[in-house]
């Protein structure tokens, strides 16, 4: 009963916030714009999803920041948590309620923006948009968003100060996104691994690098979108897509799609579990 109380209250409180309206509007607007712009170069609407996925990978977590960083830390700083936990609600129900509520809002934004891309696709592309590809894209993106929301809500759960929560969430975004992927080649995980290996006088195999590079929810998301381009990869139809999803000779587990989905799920689950373990015994006075 109390899990649903927290979920209902938080969802109602959040959806009435201008922040949420901003999140949904910005996301939908940008996805529509990208889809429309790509129509100039390609016939198939699903090809736009390739560009949209990079926008989701790089920008959507940033859009999630204002939606998530105060989920628990804000309640602790404002004292609102005393309302929720003064009622017969366990701390576990409280954290889970907050997470599910914020994830529901984020997933709503994903569904709406994907629907907007589909609508633009119908009007701006010569071919009929493939519903299965769009649906697959929405599903994998939902998993990614659920994973990142869990990480961010976990950061919020671990502290009682909004400034620390903001720092934690931004830090998690940078670590798991741009740093892990190597957006800036000299400030990247790969550069750190290479440097450490050099200092130790050893080397790191490509297989190990492969496992490490796909061990972040953001990189796992990009890799896990491969089924969206089923039948296209390797045909030469869309070279950029092929380059990203070339699986010829794939023999390692990390090259399997399920490994990516497991990675995203594991990040979300472990982050929430660790934060709950700390929150369960946290001093809330």
């Amino acid at each position: 009963m109390s899990f649903t109380t927290v979920l209902r209250d938080d969802f109602t409180n959040t959806r009435r916030s201008y922040v949420v309206l901003g999140v949904v509007a910005v996301l939908t607007g940008f996805v529509s714009l990208i889809t429309y712009q790509v129509a100039e170069f390609h016939e198939d609407a699903f090809r736009a999803l390739f560009d949209v996925s990079f926008f989701f990978f790089l920008v959507f977590p940033l859009i999630l920041v204002p939606l998530t960083y105060l989920a628990v830390a804000g309640d602790r700083e404002r004292g609102s948590i005393k309302h929720a936990l003064g009622l017969p609600t366990t701390r576990g129900e409280y954290v889970l309620g907050k997470y599910v509520s914020r994830t529901a809002v984020a997933v709503g934004a994903v569904v709406l923006s994907t629907a907007a891309a589909l609508a633009v696709g119908v009007g701006a592309y010569s071919g009929t948009p493939d519903l299965v590809r769009f649906g697959t894209f929405a599903l994998v993106t939902t998993l990614f968003v659920a994973s990142m929301t869990a990480v961010f809500v976990a950061c919020s759960t671990l502290t009682k100060k909004r400034s620390r929560a903001m720092f934690g969430v931004i830090g998690a975004y940078f670590l798991l996104g741009p740093f892990w992927l190597g957006f800036l080649p000299v400030v990247s995980l790969n550069a750190v691994i290479t440097t450490v290996a050099d200092v130790l006088g050893t080397s790191v195999s490509d297989t190990t690098r492969g496992y490490i590079s796909l061990a972040s929810p953001t990189t796992a998301y990009l890799s896990g979108l491969e089924p969206v381009y089923d039948g296209v990869v390797g045909t030469g139809e869309y070279p950029r897509v092929t380059r990203n999803y070339a699986t010829e000779g794939a023999t390692e587990l990390y090259q399997e799609n399920w490994f990516n989905y497991l990675t995203m799920t594991a990040w979300g689950t472990v982050a929430l579990a660790v934060s709950y373990a700390r929150f369960r015994v946290a001093e809330l006075g």
Partner: protein, 337 residues
């Protein structure tokens, strides 16, 4: 069964800060218990341990016969909490806050009835709580606390921010709740309110309970007594009121009520019965035109316990100096009888 029982309850923050030190407290079933203390005395820390928000460093807390550490959820099902200094969810209405409590407790209260009972206007109840004044937030929080007919109400500074009507309504609700059988743990720094509604009080100072009794018993224990002021036509010459048992001091001065001509005799007594003895003695020797009696206020007692504790290590250590202060406060701010 006791409503709240703490046993050697202790809370340390780090190595240096001892916020609550071996607190033994018992709030009886059906009573209104006033919990007082100066800022930093450890009141909030104690309440947070009672609610399970903080873990005690040592000792234990039982609420409604259940251990807080073990049965926190069952306890919160049966208590009503009005927390101090919290911001409600900004985009939820007052009514939705009450509905939230009804939902969480699986109660069958009517939110509109509860909001009406605490005097929150129906239109206001449907506005976002972020637009509420402090008083409106307090009314809403009281309605939340009343959900499910709780056996114990924990009210932390409930009258702060309330207008006089709200304070009066709060008193009425507390009376109704205790008549129903509920116990009330009333934490406030508005001593006048505590004095009006509480059966017993506990005074916390520097994390220790320095007083625990009814206000009358505390008055008697501290010999805080009362001040009797009588306006007489003329003061008899050999008026030896200090010889009367229970009279601490007597003095004469002009003044008193400006509408009454004459002189004022001021008598400080240490026990209730001495008031009438002094008045009878005065009435036999002079014509008494007007009388006022000021009981030592809770504020005076509070000052006496907390100041004496701070200055001399115990309320009895320098009682006479403390009593002088208390009497002065009583004369300045006490209620006229």
């Amino acid at each position: 069964m006791t409503a709240i029982k703490t046993d050697a309850l202790t809370k340390r923050f780090g190595e240096d800060v001892l916020a609550v030190d071996g607190l033994d407290l018992e709030v009886r079933d059906g009573e209104v218990f006033g919990f007082l203390g100066p800022n930093g005395a450890g009141k909030s820390t104690t309440i947070n341990m009672i609610l399970g928000f903080l873990q005690p460093s040592a000792g234990s807390v039982d609420v409604l016969g259940m251990d807080v550490a073990r049965d926190s959820l069952a306890i919160r099902q049966r208590i009503g909490l009005l927390p101090e200094g919290y911001e409600p969810y900004e985009n939820l209405t007052g009514r939705e806050h009450v509905q939230s409590a009804i939902h969480a407790k699986d109660a069958d209260d009517d939110p509109d009835e509860l909001l009406d009972r605490v005097g929150l206007d129906p239109d206001d109840a449907r506005r976002p709580a972020s637009e509420y004044s402090t008083g409106m937030t307090k009314r809403m929080s009281l309605a939340v606390a009343l959900v499910g007919e709780p056996e114990l109400l924990i009210l932390d500074e409930p009258s702060t921010g309330l207008d006089p009507d709200g304070v009066s309504l709060l008193r009425e609700i507390i009376r109704e709740e205790t008549a129903r059988g509920a116990s009330v743990f009333f934490c406030s720094h508005i001593l006048e309110e505590v004095e009006k509604v509480c059966d017993r009080v506990g005074i916390l100072n520097d994390g220790e309970l320095v007083a625990l009794d009814t206000i009358d018993n505390l008055r008697a224990e501290m010999q805080a007594g009362a001040t009797v002021e009588a306006t007489v036509d003329a003061v008899p010459e050999d008026l030896d009121l200090e010889a009367i048992a229970g009279v601490r001091s007597a003095s004469v001065g002009a003044g008193g009520d400006a509408d009454v001509a004459g002189e004022t005799v001021r008598v400080e007594v240490t026990e209730g019965a001495a008031k009438m003895r002094a008045l009878r003695a005065l009435d036999e020797r002079a014509t008494v035109a007007d009388v006022s009696i000021e009981e030592a206020s809770l504020e005076a007692l509070f000052d006496e316990y907390t100041d004496a504790e701070a200055n001399a290590g115990g309320p009895g250590a320098d009682a006479s100096a403390a009593r002088d202060d208390a009497t002065a406060v009583a004369a300045d701010g006490g209620e006229g009888a």
